[in-house]
Symmetry: C2
Subunit: 204 residues, 2 copies
């Protein structure tokens, strides 16, 4: 591309100086710091992978990360392979026995979700853990496999010394109401609809 003439550069640089000043002023007003309750929801791709990316960032800062996946037990996944190959990097656990449409046994799903929630609470209460990821928790909250009320009650009283990220479609409104950071992952175009199958590295 053509490099703009010097006058344009000067105008651009002056404008950027104003942007920088406005940004610094805005940042100065943002002084709060504590553990955030983060929710990733929506029909788009990236909710779980974004949580794993935050795990990487946290590990990069020397923080201790604990990950619990609620409903993908039967599948071999890239994230599972990765964290099992590097057990020093994070605590990574899978509970549940595949999506409910795979197990087709509601009593077993309920028991697995209850056990996973007990484990989640232990991770959240563990003073050594700085970042807890509860992957696909929204799924079992949505379909009633796990009751929402005790989860919300516990999270309201959570220790504010760590971040918690909860992922999955159809986040319950009761959860969204108490979250600090909510992103809706909105599908614009998905290769599924063009006949592509789920691919390694991208979807799992």
């Amino acid at each position: 591309m053509t490099v703009p003439p010097p006058d344009d550069h000067a105008r651009h640089n002056a404008r950027m100086e104003r942007v920088a000043a406005a940004r610094a002023k805005m940042q100065a007003r943002r002084t709060l710091e504590r553990g955030l309750l983060i929710v990733h929801t929506g029909n788009g791709k990236g909710k779980s992978s974004s949580a794993f990316g935050m795990a990487i960032r946290s590990i990069g800062w020397g923080m201790k990360v604990a990950i619990l996946q609620y409903v993908k037990g039967k599948w071999e996944t890239g994230e599972r392979n990765f964290f099992e190959a590097h057990p020093d990097l994070a605590t990574f656990e899978v509970m549940g026995e595949g999506f409910t449409w795979d197990t087709q046994d509601r009593a077993r799903d309920i028991a697995a979700a209850a056990a996973a929630w007990e484990r989640s609470k232990a991770m959240i209460l563990d003073p050594d853990v700085d970042f807890v990821i509860l992957d696909e928790l929204n799924i079992v909250l949505r379909d009633g496999t796990l009751g929402i009320a005790p989860v919300v009650d516990f999270l309201k009283d959570r220790p504010l010394t760590k971040h918690i990220c909860i992922t999955g479609r159809h986040a319950r409104p009761e959860l969204l109401a108490i979250a600090d950071l909510v992103t809706d992952f909105t599908e614009v175009r998905h290769p599924y609809n063009a006949g592509f199958k789920a691919q390694k590295g991208v979807e799992y």
Copy 2:
């Protein structure tokens, strides 16, 4: 929570069997497999972290990952710390010298973006690389620091043996038009607006 009576379980299980059958039929129609062009855009949080999460998944499958960050050079970030501490896991490079509102020198921005794009092309053409992440490329395409036309021309002719993920707000329509997978990260609630500063592990 109360476990539903056996009748409910039977009904649920029968419904889940139908869901499983429908799902299997849908999956059977999804047979295509090739490298995807993925774009993460929107005003919400998670675009870059989701790309890093796909990096983790890909590494978990033994794929080779190359990451190039366009515009965050001056900052210490968790992802940079992580990948610099584990150079065996992925190629991780940072080009550019901070956001343009930090450098305030458009000529330098243009030169840095051009150099970063040359490096990006080399990563994409490298037969050993399976997944290329061009983090925040959208930013320099949006503001004209890097021209969109040569980028789109190159990506149209890209090798289809690897995935490419491009992140950043304000993705250009010319790029969206040729992408296979597009997610809009939509801000629902952000702690910025409640006075929180950007926090380690979450935002950087």
